[in-house]
C-alpha cells in the first residue's frame, strides 16, 4: 500500500490495492498491452524558490492519449514542458528527479536537447505559425534537420504532414500563401502538421484547442484520436469533457501534486480519490 502511494502518488481511500501505472500489464478493459514511452519519477520542479511540482511519478504509455487535467495553476503546463525541456529557456528553474524517454534520462548531462525536441514535438495553446507561407511552415523542421534530399521529396513530405493534420484539402491550392492569414483552427492544424513533419515519437499538446471555436476543436479532437495509433500523445486540457472524449488515461493534478492517475473511464465514472470526484463533477475548479 505504502509502495503504491509512493509510485503512483495516489492518496487512497479505503480501496483495494490497485495495479501500479508503471507495470506493463494494463488493468482489464484495455485491449493491447502498452509499453511505457516516458517515465517520470519523483519529479520536483522549482521556479526559483517556488516548488511548482511535488514528487510527480507517472508512466506515459506509448500509442495512447494521456490527458493532464486540473484547475489553473496546478502545474500541468509546467509538467508537459519538462518533457521536452522547453523550461530550459526560462531563467532560474531547477529540476530534481528523472524523466526518461525510452529508458534514457533526458536531463542527463550531455543529452542532445535538439534531438530530444525532434523526438518529442510540441503544439502550443495559441497557434504560432511563422509569418511565412504554409509550405515554408511545414517544411521548416524538415529543412533545418536536413531530413529530405530533394525538392520533390520535401514537397511529398509536406503534403503527407498536411494530410495527417487533416488540412491538405483545404490548403492544397494555396500553399504559398501566408499561414497567418488562415483561421485559428487552420493555423493550429498548420502547427500540428509542422510538428508532425519532423516525425516525432511523442506529441505534446498544451491546451491545443482552448483558443479555438467548437467546430475547429472538434476537428482537432478527431485528429488526435486518429493520430494516437502512430504517436504517443500527451494533452493538457482545461476542458474535462475534452479529456473524457479523447484520452485513454487521465492524470489529475492539484497545486503541483499528482492526485490520481487512472484510465479515463475510471476517473470520470468511479474515481478513487475524493478530490478527483469533486473536480470532475464540478464541485470546484
Amino acid at each position: 500500500m505504502e509502495d503504491d502511494v509512493a509510485r503512483t502518488g495516489v492518496i487512497p481511500r479505503a480501496t483495494p490495492p490497485r495495479v501500479a501505472a508503471r507495470e506493463k500489464e494494463l488493468p482489464e478493459g484495455e485491449k493491447t498491452a502498452a509499453v511505457t514511452k516516458m517515465d517520470v519519477r519523483q519529479l520536483n520542479f522549482y521556479y526559483g524558490r517556488t516548488r511548482a511540482l511535488k514528487d510527480i511519478t507517472l508512466a506515459i504509455p506509448s500509442s495512447r492519449v494521456t490527458a493532464f487535467i486540473g484547475p489553473s495553476g496546478c502545474g500541468k503546463s509546467t509538467l508537459i514542458r519538462t518533457l521536452n525541456r522547453m523550461n530550459d529557456i526560462i531563467p532560474g528553474v531547477r529540476i530534481e528527479g528523472t524523466i526518461e524517454l525510452d529508458g534514457e534520462d533526458i536531463y542527463a548531462p550531455g543529452t542532445d536537447v535538439v534531438l530530444l525536441r525532434r523526438r518529442a514535438g510540441m503544439v502550443f495553446q495559441k497557434p504560432n505559425p511563422f509569418p511565412r507561407s504554409i509550405f515554408d511552415n511545414v517544411a521548416y523542421g524538415l529543412r533545418i534537420n536536413q531530413m529530405t534530399k530533394s525538392k520533390s521529396e520535401l514537397a511529398d513530405r509536406v503534403e503527407a504532414s498536411l494530410r495527417a493534420a487533416a488540412l491538405w484539402d483545404e490548403v492544397k491550392d494555396r500553399l504559398k500563401s501566408s499561414a497567418v492569414d488562415l483561421s485559428g483552427g487552420q493555423q493550429q492544424r498548420v502547427c500540428i502538421a509542422r510538428a508532425l513533419a519532423v516525425e516525432p515519437e511523442v506529441v505534446l499538446m498544451d491546451e491545443p484547442t482552448s483558443a479555438l471555436d467548437p467546430l475547429a476543436t472538434q476537428k482537432i479532437e478527431e485528429l488526435i484520436v486518429e493520430l494516437k495509433t502512430r504517436y504517443t500523445i500527451i494533452i493538457v486540457t482545461h476542458n474535462m469533457q475534452q479529456a473524457a472524449r479523447v484520452s485513454d488515461r487521465t492524470a489529475f493534478f492539484w497545486l503541483g501534486e499528482l492526485i490520481e492517475y487512472n484510465p479515463t473511464e475510471k476517473i470520470f465514472t468511479n474515481p478513487e480519490n475524493r478530490m478527483t470526484e469533486d473536480y470532475v463533477t464540478g464541485r470546484f475548479g
Binding site: 521536452n84 522547453m86 529557456i89 525532434r118 514535438g121 510540441m122 502550443f124
Partner: protein
C-alpha cells in the same frame, strides 16, 4: 445632454478639455509637417536653379569655367556609404541580436550603457580616432579610412535599433522554432532576425541617412578629390564635403551649387530608403 450632465457634473468641462488637447496636438503635428515641407521646399526651389544634367555628370572646374559639376562627389558618397555599410551593418545587426537574445543581467546593462555612450560621441572625435588608427599607419588619406570612420558611427545606432526590433518578436515564435528541434543560433538568425527584418532594415536606413550627412569625420580620413575615383586607397570626394566647400566660398554661383548638391544628397537618401523598403516588403510577402 442635460440628463447626463446632471449625473456627471464635470462632464462638460472634461469634454472641452479633451477637445482642446486634440486641437493642440493636431496643431503641433501639422507644425512639424509644415516645417519639414518648408525645408524640403526651400532646398528644392533653390537647388533646382542650378541643377542640370551636366551638373550631375561633370567634375568640379575652377571658378569662372563653365560646366562644373559634382559627379565625383556623388560617386564618392556612394562609395563611402557602401564601405561603411559593408563594415558597419553586419557588425551592428549581429551586436543588436546579441544584445536582445543573450545579454542579460548586469553584463547586459553595462554593455547597453557603453553602446549608448558610443552613439553620443561627436563624429569629429571618431574622425580623429580613425585618422590615428588608419590614416597615420597607412601614411595617406583614403576612402577606406573614411568608410570605416562612418561605420564606427553607424554600429552603435544600428545595434540599438536592431535590439529594439528584435525584442518585438513574440516569444511564441522562438518557442515554436525550438520545439521543432532548432539549435539556438538557427532560431535566432533564421526565425527571429528574419521576422524582425523589416524593422531592422528601417533602423539600418536611419543609420545610413545619418552617416550620409556627416562631414567632420571625412575631413580627417577621406579628405577630398577633384576627379571621379573608385580607388578606395586614395582620398575621395563626398557630397557633404563639396557642400561645405562651396558654401564657404565667396562666390554666389558656388552657393547655388551648394544648394543643388544638397538637393542631390537629400534625393539620394530618399531613393536608398524607398529601394530598401521595397526589397524588404517584397521578401516579406513571398
Amino acid at each position: 445632454m442635460s440628463a447626463s450632465a446632471a449625473i456627471h457634473p464635470g462632464l462638460a468641462r472634461r469634454n472641452m478639455l479633451s477637445n482642446t488637447m486634440t486641437v493642440l496636438m493636431s496643431v503641433c503635428a501639422v507644425s512639424v509637417i509644415i516645417i519639414l515641407l518648408v525645408i524640403l521646399g526651400y532646398i528644392a526651389a533653390t537647388g533646382l536653379r542650378e541643377l542640370s544634367f551636366s551638373f550631375l555628370v561633370n567634375t568640379p572646374k575652377p571658378f569662372g569655367e563653365p560646366g562644373s559639376g559634382i559627379a565625383n562627389a556623388i560617386v564618392g558618397t556612394l562609395i563611402l556609404i557602401a564601405i561603411a555599410s559593408v563594415v558597419g551593418l553586419p557588425v551592428g545587426i549581429l551586436a543588436g541580436l546579441y544584445l536582445a537574445e543573450f545579454a542579460t543581467g548586469k553584463f547586459g546593462t553595462g554593455l547597453r550603457f557603453l553602446i549608448d555612450t558610443l552613439t553620443g560621441v561627436p563624429s569629429i572625435v571618431i574622425g580623429v580616432f580613425a585618422w590615428t588608427v588608419i590614416v597615420k599607419p597607412m601614411g595617406h588619406f583614403s576612402a577606406l579610412a573614411g568608410g570605416i570612420a562612418l561605420a564606427i558611427i553607424m554600429m552603435p545606432i544600428v545595434a540599438r535599433t536592431t535590439e529594439e526590433m528584435i525584442r518585438l518578436v513574440p516569444q511564441s515564435l522562438r518557442e515554436a522554432s525550438l520545439a521543432l528541434g532548432a539549435p539556438v543560433w538557427r532560431m535566432s538568425l533564421g526565425v527571429v532576425l528574419r521576422t524582425a527584418a523589416a524593422g531592422v532594415a528601417t533602423g539600418a536606413m536611419l543609420a545610413i541617412a545619418r552617416i550620409s550627412g556627416e562631414t567632420a569625420p571625412l575631413l580627417f580620413t577621406a579628405l577630398s578629390y577633384s576627379y571621379i575615383s573608385t580607388d578606395i586607397n586614395q582620398p575621395i570626394a563626398s557630397l557633404t564635403y563639396q557642400i561645405y566647400y562651396y558654401a564657404g566660398a565667396p562666390y554666389e554661383q558656388w552657393h547655388s551649387m551648394a544648394w543643388a548638391a544638397t538637393l542631390v544628397l537629400v534625393g539620394m537618401i530618399l531613393v536608398i530608403n524607398v529601394v530598401v523598403r521595397l526589397v524588404v516588403r517584397g521578401h516579406h510577402h513571398r
